[in-house]
């Protein structure tokens, strides 16, 4: 498997105004570049998946910043390197 410098951010929780803006601000502040976003709200549950380029980031700092934001918003925000999804779902 080739080495990637992309990661997947998943955001799950109750819908609020401005979630995307807040998450994007944290990503921009940590030099992460958003490559793809998909977002849905189903019966009040907000659900967003972002693919981000993390080649310029300090991964631990970015992770901590997102976790802190998740705590503030009361949402589950997870960032994981893309390889784990490729490993699990592609042969």
């Amino acid at each position: 498997m080739e080495k990637k410098s992309t990661a997947v951010v998943t955001v799950l929780g109750n819908d609020y105004r401005g979630i995307i803006a807040k998450v994007s601000a944290v990503l921009a502040g940590q030099d992460a570049n958003i490559l793809d976003i998909s977002q849905t709200v189903l019966s009040g549950m907000f659900n967003m998946i972002m693919i981000v380029d993390v080649s310029l980031c300090d991964f631990r700092e970015l992770e901590t910043a997102l976790k802190t934001l998740g705590g503030e918003l009361g949402m589950q925000i997870v960032i994981q390197r893309s390889e784990i999804f490729d490993a699990m779902h592609r042969i």
């Binding site: 997947v8 998943t10 992770e63 997870v78 390197r81 893309s82 490993a87 779902h89």
Partner: protein, 451 residues
């Protein structure tokens, strides 16, 4: 391109179904440390382990954060101590160095205070077995194992007898903590050299200088998959569902093993495809068996269900990793599995049924509490029975048994954390004293005329 539902499935497996990497275990050869001088031996062992494993815990934590998957344990296994201590003659020195090195590197357990005595015992092997009560009661993180039998060598009944006595003595030496020392000793038949799981991990004499072995887990993921995809379906669908799930879990194990090995600059050894339960809700192997339609784990049908599970896990996992090894299969430790605890407490699961289950699971009688007044000869006889199953069936079997001092039927032993709690189980009141007193060796079985 990975789809959104695949991404959400992975996130759900980790956050809700308790998918984790159970352990990254660094195997370290201690052959270069052997020396007749006690002080020098201590220094050699301590320095070798702390230098080699300096970055193990930090690297494990880094991987956890980057891949968003818990790596529950970071551990070390070393060359069996009886080999390293042979020139010096005092194995306890190695135990002390191992314990200090484990604390310095930050790992929670270090395995390999071990002896391989399936054919016979050296003076060093005898010294190690005799030192077990002291070693396991005065160190904190050292784990021990003794291999008393193999399919090719038969069963060393002298070693079996000594181990039965050692277990009683360890229980006495750690009486204040419900015989907790016994949790750190596994008596094996056909022990494997690359097992990453404690307490039975050691770095076999046939291994290289150093390697990374990874043990996966995920009973909760398998049980949810059966619930969602195979409800009421025939066993063909059950087996396929387990295989698909085991494949996904193992791929994550392989990824972590490869990353850990490259970041630590140490060769990748194996991925151990085991379903290792914890006492947490939703992390139970017994619940997988119950999901297949058994009212309680331990009722008739349990052995068949476990056989299917164990085989399907291996079939699914084996293609997902370049090197599979260790114990690979389903673990059935009583105290570490909430479904097993409940089944034993309500009387559905007996020691006899567990013994039958060990014929088809990956290891053996694991984390079983028995009355404190169980004689050493009965414990030795339990070991002999289990070793016979392993020897005849060419599989690994093991006994990790806790004769809890002062406790009897109806009582419970509380170990805490991942070790859980165990109801005291009934053992046969009839004696095997004269059987065990014979000593000698039970010859290796025929490999043909298999019926």
């Amino acid at each position: 391109m990975i789809t959104n539902s695949e991404i959400l499935q992975t996130v759900r497996m980790i956050s809700e179904e308790k998918l984790d990497i159970r352990t990254i275990t660094m195997g370290i050869s201690l052959f270069s440390c052997a020396t007749p001088d006690k002080k020098q031996l201590y220094t050699n062992v301590y320095d070798r382990i702390t230098t080699q494993a300096e970055n193990l815990v930090a690297t494990g934590e880094q991987l956890e954060h980057e891949f968003g998957i818990p790596i529950v344990n970071k551990r070390i296994s070393v060359t069996p101590a009886s080999l390293i201590a042979a020139p010096c003659g005092d194995p306890i020195v190695v135990a002390r160095a191992m314990d200090a090195a484990a604390k310095a590197t930050g790992v929670n357990f270090i395995g390999g205070y071990s002896a391989l005595v399936q054919k016979g015992m050296t003076a060093s092997d005898r010294a190690l077995i005799a030192s077990l009560p002291e070693a396991l009661s005065t160190t904190e993180r050292v784990c021990s194992s003794v291999n008393v039998a193999s399919t090719r060598a038969g069963i060393d009944m002298d070693a079996v007898r000594l181990c039965g006595q050692a277990i009683k003595d360890i229980a006495e030496a750690t009486r204040d903590t419900d015989a907790s020392g016994c949790m750190k000793l596994v008596v094996f038949a056909n022990a494997v050299e690359d097992n990453p799981f404690m307490a039975g991990a050691f770095h076999g004499p046939g291994e290289g200088d150093c390697c990374i072995n990874v043990g996966i887990s995920g009973p909760g993921v398998v049980s949810s998959a059966l619930k969602n995809e195979a409800k009421g379906q025939p066993f063909d669908v059950v087996a396929e569902t387990i295989k698909r799930t085991a494949f996904k879990i193992t791929r994550v194990g392989q990824l972590i093993a490869r990353e850990a090995s490259s970041r630590l600059g140490v060769p990748f050894g194996i991925v151990d495809l085991s379903l290792a339960p914890t006492p947490a809700m939703g992390d139970s192997v017994a619940h997988i068996l119950e999901e297949m339609g058994l009212e309680r784990c331990g009722c008739h049908g349990t052995t068949a269900a476990l056989a299917l599970l164990n085989d399907a896990v291996k079939k699914g996992g084996v293609m997902a990793s370049s090197h599979v090894g260790g114990l690979s299969g389903a673990f059935i430790p009583v105290s570490e599995d909430i479904g097993m605890i409940n089944a034993a407490a309500c009387g559905a699961l007996s020691l006899e049924k567990l013994e039958a289950m060990t014929c088809v699971c990956s290891v053996g009688l694991d984390m079983i509490a028995v009355p404190g007044d169980t004689p050493a000869s009965t414990i030795a006889a339990i070991i002999a029975d289990e070793a016979a199953i392993g020897m005849v069936n060419s599989k690994t079997t093991a006994v990790r048994i806790i004769p809890a001092p002062g406790k009897g039927i109806g009582d419970e032993v509380e170990f805490g954390g991942l070790f859980g709690r165990a109801p005291i189980m009934r053992v046969s009141p009839y004696s095997a004293e004269s059987f065990i007193a014979r000593g000698g060796r039970i010859p290796a079985p025929l490999q043909s005329l298999k019926n």
